[in-house]
Symmetry: C2
Subunit: 680 residues, 2 copies
């Protein structure tokens, strides 16, 4: 091999010398299987002329050990419920995942897909995209999300294992992370959660290659990462990531740990690249044909691009079938299990029989009681009906339980001692919570809901975006949804938050006006299997505006709450806590002989999905006034060019809520005046 030594001086790049030592060892079958990953990564990136070869080349060895010896996974059924979950948190290294899927014989990942890496409609997208292939457990790419989502998956396993027993649920979660994932703040939150809940069936392989995009990690970080994870209560190990046996020993040990485990795999990024290995230049672009060719020579790899020697492909396919027997045994256990139907229902994300009756009974009671309560309290009442009826609902709050009203009496807390508990005290870790919730939903068998203040949606935003992109049923209960929260002031008062959430594709943002609408919106959020929801809820009390319990009117997103007494002269459109202002304004206007309709618009996204004629009928032709205690950005859509918007024009202030509404001019009087001006 020495004859094709790199042209660079190995002394100038210690990784080259280290690499040469490793390559001088006899190539075992396991090493050659790893080389297959490396070669496919190089070839695919080269053909696409873009991508990230460095990580798959560096982590191929450790990943091969995981895939061939530890991961419980059957290529014949990659969605088997009791499979181990594998999360590629360092999502830019997507070719590691695609190469494994192809090599181990998964349907839906052929060599043509690999050749189409990063091309339109390819399942082999630039980053792993959930939904493109059944074995892709989650979308990754935004750093730190994968490890945090994996924590949620491990929580789901722990919980469902307690609910259904080990004979049905007993699997591990494995994640491959890079330095970037660990520098991100979300990794702190997630790791702390995992340590606190002693999620010992979680193993994280850290690609400790010492390189990030700007260069050596020492430029940016002096962290003692393993010491840090020890502080969270994790087991930690350090291995040569190119030593298959050492990796195996570490993985093996992690399966016996009473704590979550992180294994620092010391690797050389771009391993086998003769001149670029160990440098940032292998991270995010093609190596170039000469470097690829020389790398293959170093590996003793003679095959044409995209061609895998038969013996290696066979070995990989055998590895892909390794857990087939385990799966068959599991299927037999399932077939005889008394909870078979319930387990299958829960994992399929189907709501249980009777849930809707419980919800309907709750709404009937609201129609009778007509409670004047905050919508956050109405949300709690809805949960009191739904949580007992839907055993998959698993709630929690980022340390604002009493404020978010997310708990339900009698529902036990999830803990080390009681993993069957369904309420999670997430701590002040909004981002970790939201990403873990994505993991709970992706795992299946859980419908997670959260709690925090609406303004702190900002802290969770990257994870909310991923829930929307992956179309996961994740429900965020976000209370204190306007200046109506009062004295805590502008840092806590959302003004731009509603708009910033409404703009996220696939996310449904509900802002109910009273207890009845809250119940309706909760039903809609729980029912919708293919996307996340935000419930924006008031801190302050709101009167009952809807007192009939029949049709779920919120299901159309917007509707006429009160029709004008004659031909409409004005339409007031409002959401949430401002609908009552619209109703008060209507009363004044009607008394003045101005027939006025009030439209409640609890969910813009659903309203936009209605047909044009319905929307036109609801919004009407009369002059429109919109009222929302938030910025008007986006309201033009409903108000048209001539509409008037009554709301905020900047940040809020610290004062009692009622004073703030007056101070900012968000009042029924302002709405009345606006209509009068329109009609003058």
């Amino acid at each position: 091999m020495a004859s094709i030594a790199p042209t660079v001086d190995p002394n100038a790049n210690p990784a080259i010398a280290a690499q040469q030592k490793i390559l001088a060892l006899p190539a075992t079958e396991s090493r050659r299987m790893a080389d297959a990953i490396r070669v496919l990564a190089m070839d695919a990136v080269e053909k696409a002329k873009s991508g990230h070869p460095g990580m798959p080349m560096g982590m191929a060895d450790a990943a091969t050990v995981l895939f061939t010896k530890y991961l419980k996974h059957d290529a014949a059924d990659p969605r088997w419920a009791d499979r181990d979950r594998f999360v590629l948190s360092a999502g830019h290294g997507s070719m590691l995942l695609y190469a494994w899927l192809y090599l181990s014989g998964h349907a839906g990942m052929g060599i043509e897909d690999i050749k189409n890496f990063r091309q339109l409609h390819s399942v082999a997208a630039g980053h792993p995209e959930f939904g493109e292939h059944p074995a892709i457990e989650t979308t990754t790419g935004p750093l730190g999300q994968g490890i945090s989502t994996a924590v949620g998956m491990a929580m789901a396993e722990r919980h469902l294992s307690a609910r259904f027993g080990k004979s049905l649920v007993d699997h591990r979660t494995w994640a491959v992370v890079g330095d970037g994932c660990l520098m991100e703040g979300i990794s702190h939150e997630a790791a702390s959660i995992a340590g606190h809940f002693k999620l010992n069936k979680l193993t994280v392989l850290w690609d400790d290659n010492g390189i990030s995009i700007d260069g050596d990690v020492s430029i940016t970080s002096s962290d003692d990462v393993l010491r840090r994870f020890q502080s969270y209560g994790w087991a930690v190990r350090r291995v040569d990531g190119h030593d298959h046996e050492a990796v195996a020993r570490a993985l093996d040990a992690s399966t016996r740990s009473s704590k979550p485990t992180i294994i620092a795999c010391k690797t050389i990024i771009g391993f086998s690249a003769p001149s670029k290995a160990g440098t940032a230049s292998t991270h995010g672009s093609a190596l170039g044909a000469p470097e690829v060719q020389a790398a293959k020579q170093l590996l003793g790899w003679d095959a044409e691009p995209f061609v895998i020697p038969e013996d290696i492909k066979n070995a990989w396919e055998a590895a892909g079938r390794r857990s087939a027997g385990t799966r068959r045994s599991w299927l037999k256990r399932l077939a005889k299990h008394p909870q078979k139907a319930e387990f299958e229902r829960a994992m399929a994300g189907k709501l249980p029989e009777g849930w809707h009756e419980a919800a309907a009974a709750h709404r009937a009671k609201l129609a009778e009681d007509k409670p004047k309560i905050a919508t956050r309290v109405a949300s709690q009442r809805a949960l009191e009906a739904l949580v007992p009826a839907v055993p998959e609902l698993m709630g929690g709050s980022a340390d604002l339980t009493g404020s978010n009203n997310t708990n339900v009496k009698g529902i036990p807390v999830f803990s080390v001692q009681n993993p069957a508990g369904r309420y999670v005290h997430w701590g002040i870790r909004e981002h970790g919570m939201a990403a873990a919730m994505n993991g709970l939903a992706l795992h299946g068998g859980v419908i997670p809901y959260s709690g925090t203040f609406l303004v702190f949606a900002d802290y969770m935003r990257p994870a909310i975006r991923l829930a929307a992109l992956m179309r996961q049923r994740v429900i965020h209960v976000l209370t204190h949804d306007s200046i109506g929260l009062g004295e805590d002031g502008p840092t806590h008062q959302p003004v731009e938050t509603l708009a910033s959430l409404r703009v996220i594709p696939n996310l449904f943002v509900y802002r109910p006006a009273d207890a009845m609408e809250t119940a309706e919106c909760w039903e809609l959020a729980v029912q919708r299997a293919d996307g996340p929801a935000v419930l924006a809820l008031s801190r302050q009390n709101l009167p009952a505006l809807r007192t009939e319990a029949g049709e779920n009117k919120s299901a159309r997103g917007g509707y006429v709450l009160a029709e004008a007494s004659g031909p409409r002269k004005a339409t007031l459109i409002a959401t949430g806590s401002e609908v009552m202002l619209a109703m008060a304004a209507r009363e004044t206007l009607e008394a003045e002989g101005i027939p006025t309709a009030v439209v409640s618009l609890p969910c813009w996204e659903l309203f936009a999905l209605q047909d044009e004629s319905y929307r036109a009928q609801v919004l009407g032709d009369a002059p429109r006034v919109g009222i929302e205690a938030a910025l008007g950005f986006g309201w033009e859509r409903w108000l048209g060019a001539d509409g008037t918007f009554i709301g905020m024009t900047g940040f809020g202030a610290s004062a009692p809520a009622e004073e703030l509404y007056r101070h900012f001019g968000i009042t029924a009087e302002a709405a009345v005046a606006a209509v009068r001006r329109k009609l003058a």
Copy 2:
């Protein structure tokens, strides 16, 4: 004291017993000064009927030691440039800050202000708001922001001390944080940055009271916090937070450390509350009159509400003047300092003479060269002109330097070895970066700019919001601003991000169309002293559309880039990389005899500030078509009810950029077709 023992069994709440022991000790003057903070916190919250008494009552002792013995601060001039910075990261404990300001004799914080705590227009807002009082160094409340902002302040000190010398810049940064701050992920990023840069003039006092809102911290966290900070390279200490001498020793030691220091102050939340101390019930609401009265009895406090005994007030005022001599010496040094004028200019945030000439010369060169480059590259060229001309500009990137084009040749890197360096390798820590940038700006003497991908604005959002709320000159360079980034796919392609940023009050979002507009937008961002900016920049090359260098046309936010050849039949409105599509469409339409104008809209916020008649003239009366490779949310504002929008309708995809534009129908042809339909 035993006679007024609480009605609760002290054995049921160990904090009560511990508190009784402490209260049994002789009350020193220092303890009585701390009691004054406690009493004011109780009184103010009681009167406001809302607020957070627990934290000020628990941390009053440690804070008193800091304020009276260590903090370099002169109440007579709280903005003195070389003062120590004090950051109350646990912002809900705002009464700790207000009580200190009042007690130590600050103008602008009288007892009436304390009585108006949390009322409209009061400087004593619910959370500390920058701008309300000159001694409030930063707005806090959203947890984790304060500690991270403090890291930026300490960086600014280190940098400016290297630039101007220790005789002008030599001060510390002190932060009080709670468990919430430390659970937040941003604290990981910030602490890691501080450890890496060995910011030894930073001392963090952790209010280690073991309580969060949901109850005992042990419910949510098992972290060994001090071990964690050791992993970042911090010095750590643990003291009884009610033992003034122990706190003094720890603060003293921190001033001699070669590392940043965190001091765990073991405290009792709500200290002195006879039945509620040590419980979450003291955290976020008034204690109630009986509890307050009993607490005062326990403290031996006889004065009426809001009345401070003269001896204690005098002692506090003396403490407020403690550094007056130090300040006078400093003023003398400044007066004789050769860099006096430059230092004062920089700290005042005034741009240096000659900066505009440098910028103008750059634009003149662009007019000549007409480069076809990505706007991210154009941004780098603008920086090559601005960075040498404006010594306050301090740039960086969250590990995407080569992609964000944020570095400038010859500008040294900020490091332990070279703190005079002006380029920061922030690591993959977007949120920590953005919050630290707020600290750099708030400190004064630095104009920070960042770099990351536009989509990752989501990771920084809470800090961007605070920059906007505080109106700080913080500039975010956000590249890869659309599907035009291509193969990295939907996780990396912003579609909702522009809208989500445009909705933030006070934030100016620039999306320039070519190199000239990029230069103009950079000038505007640097010039604007009272608010943050985002520059959204393309990955892909764009032709030069503007080839004259006179007026800064971007300054009006939007303008007619190409007027119609006759009476307008259509107006195409676009931003950034889509302006070239509008120009191409115009060419086709004009050739078809349809006089068409193109409007470039690089900054919506500035355009909205123009007078109505200018806007009407620019937008015109002809049918309007908007083009932006993003969602249309908010575009109705410019397009009116009858406009057509050409852009995205959901998330992006992974493919080469040009294919994506075709795939999603964002093309000149689509714009032409839209106009034809309008005119048909």
